[in-house]
């Protein structure tokens, strides 16, 4: 967790209580995942909202060569980009073997020092 960034703290505190928090602009309605004190689309003021955690796999990779010894202990692990139904995209972990276009549901992996968003198959693909 980054020191000093209250918005990042708020996001990760959400994960700790099982909430995927994102922002929606009061002015233009755009969803925004990387939180800011403004809407990057129109400059308006965003509100925090909680996602239902349902989405579609947009891209997927399986990491064998990890960046650090901590992650090497988990390897291989799947990293996804997921398009959430509310209209934003995020990076997350995924259950092994997920494919592009597959419908997924959010969970949290609580094995590490912080709960990491991790998607599981919803059952049936679109």
């Amino acid at each position: 967790m980054s020191g000093g960034d209250a918005l990042a703290v708020h996001f990760w505190q959400g994960c700790a209580v099982g909430e995927l928090r994102y922002q929606r602009c009061r002015a233009c309605g755009a969803a925004q995942f990387h939180p800011r004190r403004f809407c990057a689309r129109c400059g308006g003021a965003p509100d925090w909202v909680v996602s239902r955690g349902l989405g579609t796999v947009y891209a997927v990779t399986s990491v064998t060569r990890a960046p650090t010894p901590d992650f090497a202990r988990l390897a291989p692990y799947d990293i996804l980009l997921v398009d959430l139904d509310e209209g934003f995209r995020m990076m997350a972990h995924g259950a092994p073997g997920l494919r592009i276009g597959e419908r997924v549901r959010l969970g949290f992996d609580r094995r590490g020092e912080r709960p990491l968003p991790r998607f599981e198959p919803l059952g049936g693909s679109s």
Partner: protein, 376 residues
């Protein structure tokens, strides 16, 4: 008008006992010698960054070390596009009359000075600190995500990617300074160990030591090599913020560079395209107009990108086989294109090229610079 009046480089690979500054000085000395210029005639200095020598004022540090007192100097950061961005800026600085002879230089010793493990960990930090890095990605993982989407949408296969690794290796074989020269085949690339699916070891560029430099001047040297066109686009920083991983909308950037040069695609004789990964090279060829969507590998198999083809591609072997020494890795494409246009590429020389198109990519398809070099 701005002219490339001299180029220089070191070999790439493991270069023990060197520092980024000593490597930069070797390349810079060669570039000045080729340009026929003394240190006192260099009035501008642009340099990149060095991962193994983080410094707030790298340009000034190098100026003092090398013995320059430039009237204009600073470092520049655009990831892998830094080399091309420096050349574009040098062109602009010459065109405005700010400088008459700019030295553009970059060097790093990531391999011997930093080590592959440390470089992999450091490079991953180009991702978002709060919303990407916590998931344990690497640069290959970011590009693995790109590859998965691009290949899914456009029907590109892993064998298509492998064909580019094989081509780069075959080109590197003729360059005395290349890091990897042993021939490889498609099956070997496909069987290389997994890194970040669908990318395997031989889809990824190595970590290298090395340096490159060039001099951009207001007066042409005997090679009459002009920086004829340049353009940039910076659509996003993070892969998770990219609008579409199957269409990066780079055609406009490439077209603006060609328009400034007054040329069309059919006028191009030589390509030097950023190739941090096989997927990078394939996408950039398709984005910048040198292959239809999903068809870059078909064009490769038709011989278009071979040394004797319509558009010889990365004749030094690219980042994939010549090597990747950070900013110098991107500059190596420009040094090679310059040598080819000047007819000084030795055993690698292709038939009388007059116009080269170059494209650099920084981050995860994040920062883009297109260049056109032309022999007048």
């Amino acid at each position: 008008m701005a002219w490339i009046s001299g180029v220089g480089d070191t070999e790439f690979g493991r270069l023990e006992g060197e520092t980024p500054l000593s490597l930069m000085a070797r390349a810079a000395g060669d570039a000045l010698a080729e340009a026929g210029l003394e240190r006192g005639e260099i009035d501008g200095l642009l340099c990149g960054y060095a991962a193994s020598l983080p410094h707030l004022m790298l340009a000034t540090l190098f100026a003092e070390y090398f013995g320059l007192k430039p009237r204009y100097a600073h470092a520049l950061q655009a990831g892998g596009a830094t080399g091309a961005a420096m050349v574009m800026l040098a062109q602009r600085l010459v065109d405005t009359g700010e400088c008459r002879n700019l030295l553009v230089v970059a060097g790093d010793n990531r391999l011997s000075g930093q080590g592959t493990d440390s470089a992999v960990a450091m490079l991953a930090q180009v991702g978002h600190r709060d919303y990407e890095v916590p998931f344990g990605p690497t640069i290959p993982a970011y590009y693995g995500l790109v590859a998965s989407r691009y290949m899914h949408v456009h029907g590109v296969s892993e064998a298509d990617l492998a064909a580019f690794a094989v081509l780069m290796r075959s080109h590197a074989a003729l360059h005395p300074g290349a890091q990897f020269k042993t021939p490889i085949g498609i099956a070997e690339v496909l069987a290389s160990r997994p890194i970040a699916a669908p990318l395997k070891l031989l889809d990824c560029c190595p970590v290298s030591d090395g340096a490159c430099a060039l001099v951009v001047s207001a007066a042409p040297s005997e090679t009459r090599l002009r920086i004829a066109g340049a353009a940039q686009i910076h659509p996003h920083q993070h892969v998770s913020a990219a609008a579409d991983l199957a269409d990066f909308a780079l055609a406009d950037c490439a077209e603006r560079a060609r328009e400034e040069a007054g040329i069309g695609i059919d006028d191009v004789d030589l390509l030097a395209i950023y190739d941090s990964f096989t997927i990078t090279l394939l996408i950039l060829l398709e984005e910048t107009g040198f292959a239809p969507r999903g068809k870059a590998a078909d064009r490769l198999r038709a011989g278009i990108f071979a040394r004797d083809g319509l558009w010889p591609l990365n004749t030094h072997g690219g980042l994939l086989s010549f090597g990747h020494s950070g900013v110098a890795g991107g500059l190596a494409h420009i040094v090679e294109a310059s040598r080819q246009l000047a007819g000084r590429a030795g055993a690698r020389q292709v038939r009388q090229p007059a116009i080269a198109f170059l494209h650099g990519d920084g981050g995860v398809m994040s920062s883009h610079v297109s260049l056109v070099l032309r022999r007048e």
